[in-house]
């Protein structure tokens, strides 16, 4: 029986699927860098895992060629190569829309409730460069207004006879009504974590591996940055919340480059294709850089 039950959570497009694809591919291939190995596949959609890992191995955008309607919950049973301990990796939702729905609908199913109740270790994915990480503030609004000078007229439908600036684009539909989609990612992420804290009142802190995806892109601009520093600067509300609630949330930050290369860069893809798959992955915990994709899972299962 598994000693740990780890769940992977995160908003849409935060890097979960690419990570899982790479993890599966490297597990199947018994990557020498990996601290974990595949123990057994208890249930779930193996076909989908196989397909996304093939995509990853083929340098194709993961999930683009196949979208299963009923992927459902996927469970991986993993064994720690050093200790022999078994860890269950639970993926409630590949796409993150589930978590978006929880935020919008303010409810979750009994099934999900039971799954997440048994999971005291979480991997939380964040995309450091997602456009909606931080809400647009009034200062941004002023800038926006200067750029889109016709905004007032657009909002009130009085654009006839007015000359709009060339760069101006119409605002989104129904701009006068607040919608949950207007909420920034960091507010949603705080809410996801608040749901857990309030609902389950854990006696011991949740252990959270916060994974900053696309780490290869991060270090292009921030060579000496740590994942924690990046969350602090790019998702400041989330960082404050995590830091203020250490008694409930034991967090360690990781930067992960799971894709390894920009697929649109043909030259780089060719270079990467000549290397072994495990060399594509990089994991940085703030002090150590490794090619062990399972590093966050290993930390959570300690």
């Amino acid at each position: 029986m598994a000693e740990k039950n780890i769940s992977i959570i995160g908003l849409p497009a935060s890097g979960k699927t690419t990570y899982i694809a790479a993890l599966w591919a490297l597990m199947i291939n018994n990557s020498p860098h990996c601290s974990l190995s595949l123990h057994s596949l208890k249930e779930g959609n193996q076909e989908y895992l196989n397909k996304i890992s093939e995509d990853w191995l083929s340098f194709v955008e993961v999930g683009r060629t196949m979208l299963a309607k009923n992927v459902g919950e996927v469970i991986m049973n993993l064994k720690n190569n050093a200790t022999g301990k078994i860890t269950t990796l639970n993926i409630p939702d590949f796409y993150g829309e589930l978590f978006d729905a929880h935020f919008q609908d303010r409810e979750w199913s009994e099934t999900y409730h039971e799954q997440i109740q048994n999971s005291k270790e979480l991997i939380l994915f964040v995309d450091p460069y997602a456009q909606n990480n931080i809400a647009r503030t009034i200062m941004d609004e002023r800038q926006y207004m200067e750029e889109f000078s016709g905004m007032e007229d657009i909002l009130t439908g009085k654009t006839v006879g007015k000359k709009k600036k060339e760069k101006a684009t119409p605002p989104p539909a129904n701009p006068n009504v607040y919608k949950h989609v207007d909420t920034s990612n960091q507010v949603k992420l705080v809410e996801i974590l608040q749901y857990l804290i309030y609902t389950f009142e854990p006696e011991t802190p949740y252990k959270i591996a916060l994974v900053v995806s696309k780490w290869d892109k991060v270090i292009i601009n921030h060579k000496n940055a740590t994942p924690e520093e990046l969350v602090k600067s790019n998702l400041p509300l989330l960082y404050q919340f995590l830091s203020c609630n250490r008694q409930a949330l034991d967090v360690k930050y990781f930067g992960i480059s799971a894709q390894g290369v920009d697929y649109e860069n043909a030259k780089a893809v060719t270079e990467f294709a000549s290397t072994v798959p495990e060399d594509r992955v990089e994991v940085f915990d703030g002090t150590t850089l490794t090619k062990d994709i399972a590093t966050p899972i290993t930390w959570l299962s300690e």
Partner: protein
């Protein structure tokens, strides 16, 4: 999986080919695949494919709503934590909502000076205010949505002065609709409706700086404020336990304005007329969203206001729970 089934029920419907549809038909296929051609360039694969269906009934568990709390619901907070209760009063468009919206926006950008965001049970409530407040900055009609509510509602925010601080400070803040304030200053029944504010730790009365800047409306807006305070004292809504702050908003319009003497017009007369009837009387100047950021920064004066509200922390325990709440947010462990 049941929860993803729920996504299919409430999310964007799919047609029987599994493509996103604007209709309401439900897919009859259990599994489907999209062809590569169905993707638009640049579309993110992780945003797709969560629509699923099932014939199985789904039992759902409600989570806390995240909206403003009613007076009955604030026990969800006060039952668990010492909380500081603050009322922001002021006439329509005086800047009450802007204060709260800006506070939340500041935390979204960075810690606010020494203060750190420890969470909120009313993030949706804050988000709504931020949204309508931003909208109002470019559309005069938009503010009706945010101020029309006649009932008392509270926003909750937990903050810490340092990450190592053991307990967060919990604020419950209510900004009362301008129309209610306008009526209360001349109507006993409406003033009695405000009896709720007698259990406050702080009352902040906001005077519209824009109206003070305009010579024609200056005396009227000052008289309105004084009339409200006098009526509130006479009706025992404010007494020698009340900590009242007179907050002049939009101070960027008044700083250095010729003919405007802050002490002469505000501090002296309010002190003379009301100090002896109140527990505390203080004066603050704010310009949380100045017209220009050249001289005044975003959130100008907000730190003083926050520090002022937090000074009464020691009184927080005086708010006793009226009843035990059954909501799951009782499990809050900030």
């Amino acid at each position: 999986m049941a929860d993803t089934d729920k996504v299919a029920q409430t999310g964007t419907p799919t047609n029987n080919k599994g493509k996103i549809s604007t209709g309401v038909e439900k897919s009859e296929q259990d599994d489907f695949y999209l062809e590569e051609d169905d993707f638009e360039p640049g579309e993110d694969s992780e945003n797709e494919g969560a629509e699923r269906s099932s014939d199985q009934p789904i039992n759902m568990i409600s989570l806390f709503k995240g909206e403003e709390l009613t007076i009955e619901q604030i026990t969800d907070v006060t039952y668990r934590f010492p909380a500081t209760k603050i009322y922001i009063l002021g006439e329509h468009d005086s800047g009450k909502t802007t204060i709260l919206a800006t506070l939340f926006e500041m935390f979204q950008a960075a810690p606010f000076h020494d203060f750190h965001y420890a969470g909120s049970l009313t993030q949706i409530g804050f988000e709504r205010r931020c949204f309508y407040s931003r909208l109002a900055s470019k559309n005069d009609d938009a503010d009706t949505e945010r101020t029309k509510a006649e009932e008392f509602h509270f926003l909750h925010i937990a903050i810490k002065k340092s990450y190592s601080e053991k307990q967060a400070t919990h604020l419950l803040i209510s900004d009362i609709a301008g129309e209610k304030i306008k009526r209360a200053k001349s109507n006993t029944q409406d003033m009695e409706d405000l009896a709720i504010i007698t259990d406050s730790h702080h009352i902040s009365f906001v005077i519209d700086g824009e109206k003070l800047a305009e010579i024609k409306t200056r005396q009227a807006v000052l008289t309105q404020a004084k009339t409200f305070v006098r009526k509130a004292i006479d009706e025992k809504i404010m007494d020698n336990q009340t900590r009242l702050a007179i907050v002049v908003s939009k101070w960027d319009l008044l700083e250095g304005l010729e003919g405007f003497d802050y002490n002469l017009l505000i501090v002296n007369p309010f002190t003379r007329d009301f100090q002896s009837s109140l527990g505390e009387l203080n004066f603050l100047k704010i310009a949380v969203r100045p017209d220009s950021f050249d001289v005044f920064k975003l959130g100008h004066g907000l730190l003083d206001l926050l520090n002022f509200w937090l000074k009464v922390e020691e009184r927080a325990n005086e708010i006793a729970p009226q009843q035990k709440s059954l909501r799951m947010i009782n499990n809050l462990i900030f």
